[in-house]
């Protein structure tokens, strides 16, 4: 059975059908890209998977558990982490605190009234935070305030926040959007490194180089429907995809 199984997922916004009976199977250990032109429903699908939007119909099972009508924090606690299109971090806090928050959420669950716990009792969490910061190459800035980072480094920090949870599924919404060529390259290298850790990923991406470099499977959305689903080679040669996606131009 696939790690994530969505079937018949439908979402309508005031007459517009953003998602029309979308099926999605994400296998454990795969890197699954979702592509499609603007307005295809990619971000809506991600919002449905992470609990920001409640779908009008369909079922979503993650490791056998339904995700429908669960709030985002519960979905995260089940093991699904999300990287946003524009990096969501804690800008006023230091890098090490940014990641410690995620490590605490993994250790203590969604709420714990440990208001008098001494900072000294945070050793193992702090160690994990520093370890994850080292993994994404931000160790030397651990004690800096996060808002001073460049955009590429903010993305790295956001990834570190997600990784501190040791999630089973990582969702990335245009991880290289708005980045320079060099930043894109280093982000792709980082994502490859994470793939080697065996983490399952869903990626939304416009940069086709990135998509074909990273993906083991691709789903193509167009006007809220799945028009193709398969291995990268299949998608590259699919005429329906070329027609919908690039108006006939070659990928």
């Amino acid at each position: 059975m696939a790690l994530l199984e969505a079937s018949g997922v439908t979402k309508r916004f005031a007459g517009l059908t953003a998602l029309d009976h979308v099926d999605l199977q994400v296998e454990e250990g795969s890197v699954h890209s979702i592509i499609g032109p603007n307005g295809a429903g990619k971000s809506t699908l991600l919002n449905v998977l992470t609990g920001s939007i409640r779908p009008d119909g369909g079922t979503i099972l993650f490791d056998g558990q339904s995700l429908i009508s669960r709030p985002p924090y519960e979905i995260n606690q089940l093991g699904i982490a999300r990287v946003f299109q524009s990096p969501e971090i804690f800008p006023e806090l230091r890098l090490v605190d940014n990641v410690t928050i995620a490590a605490l959420a993994a250790r203590d669950g969604s709420f714990r009234l440990n208001a008098l716990q001494h900072p000294r009792r945070r050793g193992e969490v702090r160690d994990l935070a520093e370890e994850v910061l080292a993994d994404v190459g931000l160790k030397e800035y651990a004690r800096f305030v996060a808002k001073h980072l460049s955009r590429g480094d903010k993305r790295r920090l956001e990834l570190a926040i997600c990784l501190a949870h040791r999630p089973r599924l990582l969702l990335l919404d245009e991880p290289t959007a708005g980045m320079s060529h060099a930043e894109t390259h280093s982000t792709v290298e980082l994502l490859k490194k994470i793939s080697e850790m065996g983490m399952t990923k869903i990626i939304i991406e416009h940069d086709m180089d990135v998509v074909f470099t990273l993906s083991s499977r691709i789903t193509v959305l167009h006007q809220g429907r799945v028009i193709a689903d398969g291995a990268p080679e299949q998608i590259r040669g699919d005429e329906a995809v070329q027609e919908a996606y690039l108006g006939g131009a070659h990928l």
Binding site: D97, A105, G109, A115, H118, D153
Partner: protein
């Protein structure tokens, strides 16, 4: 803002906290002897500490969690009225009066927290304001048999603690003990994992929600802790003044604690306490010399917001960094400049050495 100075440090000196708390104790105890030198009077010290506890609790919510409440008069007032009512009709003992007042204020803050925290920003502020005003008008008319209506609760006897009447220096030391514990626990809270979550709420609620945290429950908890502090301050106020005026539930009281916190410096714990001192001191000195003192107080408040939004604490921090900068020799500055430019254009201005 100097909130980053309060970040929990994993490798700080074990003497840091004891030294800070010792300084706090010395300042609190000696305040009645210091104030007369600057035109105040000894009793002002006790009032400053009582309002300081109020401002401290307010800062835990507004300064750290980032939710601006305009209804904290409700908790202060309910604490004061319940303590005053007990002392008038129940007995002379201060301890049950405090417990009853704090429990009542905390219970009401649970109710208001669950309701108001469903909304954000201006809607949250308006909900808290409306809620507190309901209590004010309830105390004025429908409940006047218990609250004394327009007159407030008058003729409260001097409460006793373990047989000792709470007045003069005795009540000052009692309030010092309460304020000291209030500061100690507030610092523990801020430095705990729970406190880190509160600062994360202020920084980016969306990220926190997608990091597996039940943000709503943390917000309610912060709100209730803040209500508990405010209720405690209110009970002490009733015990100290032996009188509960209707203004203690009025929105003016909520506004006053906002003003104290901003003047002192939000998110610094000590700042709002210092702000309480500044506001009460000015009120005292200005009202003695001119009838237009509220006007002058308003101008001072505006000057702070416009020119020093981080309050007195930011001012102190700027002065200290200026002195540190003056004492630094040139090569070190050059080294700092290089370090700053080296970090991907990221300025490590707020780095703190371990």
């Amino acid at each position: 803002m100097i909130a980053h100075m309060l970040r929990p440090q994993s490798a700080e000196s074990p003497w840091r906290e004891p030294v800070i708390m010792a300084v706090v104790a010395v300042v609190m105890i000696t305040l009645p002897w210091i104030l007369p030198y600057v035109g105040g009077y000894p009793e002002l010290a006790t009032r400053i500490l009582i309002w300081g506890i109020f401002a401290l609790g307010f800062d835990l919510l507004v300064g750290f969690t980032g939710y601006l409440s305009f209804g904290h008069a409700a908790f202060w007032g309910i604490g004061a009225y319940c303590a005053g009512f007990y002392l008038l009709h129940g007995g002379m003992n201060a301890l049950p009066a405090i417990i009853i007042g704090v429990v009542a204020a905390t219970a009401i803050s649970v109710l208001l927290g669950y309701l108001a925290l469903r909304r954000y920003g201006i809607y949250f502020a308006i909900l808290t304001l409306a809620f507190a005003e309901m209590f004010y008008y309830a105390a004025l008319a429908p409940l006047q048999d218990w609250t004394g209506g327009d007159n407030g609760l008058t003729g409260i006897p001097t409460p006793v603690l373990a047989g000792i009447p709470l007045k003069g220096e005795v009540i000052h030391y009692f309030v010092v003990a309460c304020a000291f514990l209030a500061v100690y626990f507030a610092r523990r809270i801020v430095r705990s994992p729970f406190g880190l979550m509160l600062r994360a709420i202020k920084s980016n609620e969306t990220r926190l929600r997608f990091t597996g945290i039940n943000v709503y429950r943390y917000k309610v908890a912060a709100f209730v802790i803040s209500g508990l502090y405010s209720g405690l301050a209110g009970t002490l106020y009733a015990i100290y003044e032996t009188y509960v005026p209707t203004e203690s539930l009025h929105w003016v009281t909520s506004g006053k604690v906002v003003m104290m916190s901003v003047i002192g410096g939000l998110g610094t714990l000590f700042g709002p306490m210092v702000g309480a001192g500044v506001v009460l001191y000015l009120e005292d000195v200005l009202s003695a010399s001119t009838e237009q003192w509220l006007l002058i107080q308003g101008l001072i408040f505006m000057a702070f917001v416009v020119f020093l939004p981080g309050g007195v604490m930011e001012g102190l921090h700027r002065i200290l960094s200026w002195i540190a900068w003056r004492r630094t020799d040139l090569p070190e500055i050059e080294g700092r400049r290089q370090a700053r430019e080296g970090a991907h254009g990221a300025a490590p201005l707020q780095q703190r050495s371990r």
